[in-house]
Symmetry: C2
């Protein structure tokens, strides 16, 4: 099979109109159904189109004239591979598609890979959803804002001119911490999501909190620190199981007396990594170590444990974002929104070891 070479000139609406013996405007009406056109005329136009192999109005011209493309941009600050390995993002995306409804012409994925840089500036989108929250996006926001493109962020924190859809991360995280506290835990570690665009894996001091540019990370840490002011934090960089395991290793491989009795992972994916690290070290969960996650996603194939975690309504979040986008495009107002999480007790947390 081969391809390429799209023949000579392609038929346009003018050709169709000429062949059907009507004006361009009438032909246009026949296709869009926006004006009164007699059945006979419409049939003639459609027949002419078929004869010429005309594939319908050119979306480029249409969107120029109408001033909108029906496309919504989804901006990530990492590779798709990483973004979509996280079920939360996938659920959110699905929710967005759902919330946008049938008027949408699709979601335009804009990523680090050569697209955010230029792509975001030269993509014909009617609105954009920001799924990352790195500072790289500041440029994007300014650029799109100047073009008058409505913006909605997911877990991006409050920003001027951007509608944000998020979670009650602080209180949710605090609730998890309180659960551990009630079980008697006092020496607690936490595995953080990325703290900055570099995504380096490293220890983080609690007093670095103000410098953390990712709102999710900062808020979840803040909530935990309310209960455990002296907790040890280590950032995993990427939200992947292996990074969770690496971070957990750093927290666990310390003199026995300093080892935390509980680790709060900022996501379920990271928590699975923590579980794995514990297993490798012969630590029983929750006997020797309690582990909590965050998100409440189903992780396929995770057997043997039911994770204690906060369930977040990712799909609802996405749907809300989609609806906000639709409203903004329609010229209506939309407001920032925070969803509540729900504690789900599993079997990975237990009383502090004696």
């Amino acid at each position: 099979m081969s391809g390429g070479s799209q023949g000579t000139h392609r038929a346009t609406l003018s050709h169709v109109a000429e062949r059907a013996g009507v004006s361009r405007s009438t032909a246009s009406l026949a296709f869009s159904g926006n004006g009164p056109v007699s059945a006979a005329t419409r049939d003639r136009v459609l027949a002419a189109a078929a004869a010429l192999g005309y594939g319908g109005p050119d979306p480029r011209a249409r969107s120029l004239r109408q001033g909108r493309s029906g496309v919504v941009g989804i901006v990530f600050d990492e590779r798709l591979l990483h973004a979509f390995r996280d079920p939360v993002n996938v659920q959110t995306l699905d929710g967005i598609a759902d919330g946008l409804g049938v008027d949408s012409n699709g979601l335009l994925l804009l990523t680090e890979t050569g697209a955010v840089g230029e792509g975001i500036r030269s993509a014909a989108v009617d609105a954009a959803v920001l799924m990352g929250c790195s500072t790289v996006l500041d440029d994007v926001i300014a650029s799109l804002g100047r073009r008058g493109i409505p913006l909605v962020s997911i877990e991006g924190g409050e920003r001027e001119g951007v509608v944000d859809i998020g979670l009650d991360n602080v209180t949710a995280s605090e609730e998890l911490a309180r659960h551990l506290h009630e079980l008697g835990h006092r020496r607690v570690g936490t595995v953080l999501l990325g703290v900055d665009p570099d995504r380096v894996s490293r220890p983080v001091a609690v007093d670095e909190l103000p410098q953390i540019t990712a709102p999710v990370t900062a808020d979840r840490l803040r909530g935990a620190a309310r209960v455990f002011p002296g907790l040890t934090a280590y950032t995993a960089g990427y939200n992947l199981v292996e990074n969770g395991a690496a971070a957990a290793a750093a927290l666990l491989d310390v003199p026995a007396g300093e080892r935390p009795t509980a680790i709060m992972a900022q996501s379920d994916l990271l928590a699975v990594g923590v579980l794995r690290a514990a297993e490798e070290r012969g630590l029983s969960v929750p006997g020797d170590l309690s582990v909590t996650g965050f998100d409440g996603v189903r992780i396929d194939g995770l057997t043997g444990h039911e994770l204690t975690t906060m369930r977040q309504p990712a799909a609802d979040k996405g749907r809300a974002a989609g609806e906000a986008v639709a409203a903004l495009i329609a010229g209506d107002e939309a407001h920032s929104l925070q969803f509540a999480c729900e504690l789900r007790l599993g079997d990975t947390t237990g009383p502090v070891p004696a």
Copy 2:
């Protein structure tokens, strides 16, 4: 935070040109850098743009004039939620982004949810990659073909005018089957991916093979049937763990003498479901039942087993598709391609029970 109401009229290149005291054409050159423009002039233009809050050339107008948008459509025939739960699709997508390179302006996701129907026809894409293979796509292919838009399919089988990037599914599957055969297995079941757009979960007779519209499913079944002509097949509909478990249940819950000694799942996700179903029934793997998968994806959190499977180069496949698209857009030729899979022995297959 709220939004909406994009003020009055937005600045255009003409306004910028006027304010900078140059012609529109010069202003355009200053932005695109496509012609000789003196540094002084360019500065004046950029300054005028900044003063007016001009956000750069309108992508809609640009794409109309240039005849291309830089956007590549990715067509799915299912919800994003399902599509992206499969790591293979995610890897492939990432590969596509990679293969397209930096000229790309992003990937436009077109899905069942209100987008394939109309969206695909009214989306300004330079080319499209077909990721599903249901017959729904036939319309799409015709429609896009008429518009002269190059098409590349992933595992779509040979089609007139479409470049296909796939795998050696038949021989790969046969190799897996042969492995089981060498271990002594004779009574074998298989869990199929979807066989038709309905995605119903049901038993499938081997002589239904010609009617299976999904090439992947058909080819993998064909390969297995070469070794085990009488194998029992059950289609899972969707490629999800729970569907795999349900299909496995149907294969396992039969009189003891008829129960298969091995189950070949057409994907790793389905295989995990099979493992789960076996576990629920107290069957040991590979003691009582051997299980094979397909894909060789890392399934986060799958512990306790190393799946015997065929590793497929999903990212390479995606990259090849991306490169094919890039070539077609550039007017070059591109050719269909089949990648080879590689057998990876795990601990889920063993000798047939005595």
